[in-house]
């Protein structure tokens, strides 16, 4: 009966940068004031610390707030399992929080070198300046002031204007779309990384019984890694 009363407060409303909320174990309201005393942490010995005394006092008010880092407290098996889950959740949160500095660092530096990083207003202005400079000013300047009067027919550049126009148009299309996407959704959501985290969290909580495909892991990840390179996209998934 107590097993059904264990709920996870940090379960649903996690966002990409969600705060680290403690694991809250509710016991049953009012009715289980006596039976709930053997839940996490169990009614302990007399030499307990102050925090434990606080928790025992909260047990009397039918509420236990168990933080995940309280490892020194003895636990019943159910509480140990809950603690493991909360540790796994905490690992997920840690990875979530450290993302902008670690996993996306190369990506962001590449964006910065391309002048496409638009994470702050200064960088937005800078990227627009770079865009106008390299896409409009330099080609127009080069086209107008570079001439080859003594070049013969062999050395003339008949396709210069067309090539410049098409490259500029392509770059403008790409830049406008990319800046629109990044400004609207952010880099992480653009790459769908937030959904990956969320789904993996769901996997942790709900679909643990489905996770027994460990033998597949190496071949799949290796294949996916190969697929990132020049191999064509496979069409058959049947």
């Amino acid at each position: 009966m107590i097993d059904k009363q264990v709920t996870y407060a940090a379960g649903d409303e996690q966002t990409a940068e969600g705060p680290l909320t403690p694991l809250i174990l509710h016991t049953q309201e009012e009715s289980s004031s006596t039976s709930s005393t053997h839940i996490c942490p169990p009614d302990g010995s007399s030499d307990s610390s102050d925090s434990r005394k606080i928790k025992q006092s909260k047990v009397r008010f039918e509420h236990i707030i168990a933080f995940a880092e309280d490892e020194d407290v003895e636990r019943s098996p159910r509480c140990i399992e809950a603690g493991e889950r909360s540790m796994a959740k905490r690992a997920l949160y840690k990875r979530l929080l450290s993302n902008p500095k670690d996993e996306l660092r190369h990506f962001r530096s590449g964006l910065l070198w391309l002048g496409l990083d638009q994470s702050s207003p200064t960088k937005v202005v800078l990227s627009w300046i770079v865009f106008f400079l390299f896409t409009l000013v330099v080609p127009v300047f080069n086209y107008n002031f570079v001439s080859c009067s003594e070049c013969g027919e062999e050395h003339a550049h008949p396709f210069e204007k067309m090539v410049q126009v098409s490259e500029t148009a392509l770059a403008a299309v790409s830049f406008l779309c990319l800046s629109n996407i990044v400004r609207q959704y952010g880099l992480r959501r653009t790459l769908l990384l937030d959904k990956i985290i969320k789904e993996s969290h769901d996997v942790r909580l709900g679909y643990e019984q489905e996770l027994r495909v460990s033998s597949l892991s190496l071949s799949l990840s290796a294949h996916a890694h190969n697929a990132m390179y020049l191999s064509p996209i496979p069409e058959t998934f049947d």
Binding site: L92, E103, L104, H106, F107, G110, L114, L116, T135, V138, P139, N142, F145, V146, S147, C148, S149, E150, C151, E154, H157, P158, F159, E160, M162, V165, S166, E167, A169, L170, A171, S174, C177, L178, N180, I181, L191, L192, L193, K195, I196, S200, H201, V203, R204, Y207, E210, L211, R212, L220, S221, A224, H225, A227, M228, L230, P232, I233, P234, F237
Partner: protein
Amino acid sequence: MICALTPQEIWGCCHGALQSAFSLLAWILLPCFVIELIFRAWWYIYVSISIPFVPADSRLNVLLCSTGMLSWLYRTSVFLFMCVLFRLMCCLQILRLKGYKKLLEDTPDVSVILSEHLRIKSQLLTISHRFRIFMVSSLFTISFSQMSSLFVILGSAKSINFFRAGDLAVCMILLIFISFN
């Protein structure tokens, strides 16, 4: 998708994909850059630069050549970056679909399969929604530029060599490579 893969695997794949996206960009960009550099250098040896109020100088040629190369590099990188980004997201979806296939083999529960199907579908819809404008407009731009270059080439088909049409060749190589990719 993810139901059949652990989060660590997915995350490792993401990490590798993010890293390899830029290496892919570099590998496409490098040969084209070499060709374009040879072409530009050859062209700027011959040309004379006539800017008003600025005396002609051979250093101006070098300056204009380098800015022209930088401009080319920037424009090409922006376009290729967008393509690589799209490819990266498609690769992640391929990973999901492979996991989904595995899920179909293992799972007897229909509701799980259906929910995974809905999830993959919504993600594909998201990708398609975000990249739709880019795909359509770049399709029109590329088609238009290729058609116009075809007409220009047909008009002056008698003398095509590297010096005359090197930039066109690089542009076409890039575009066609992208469309095959």
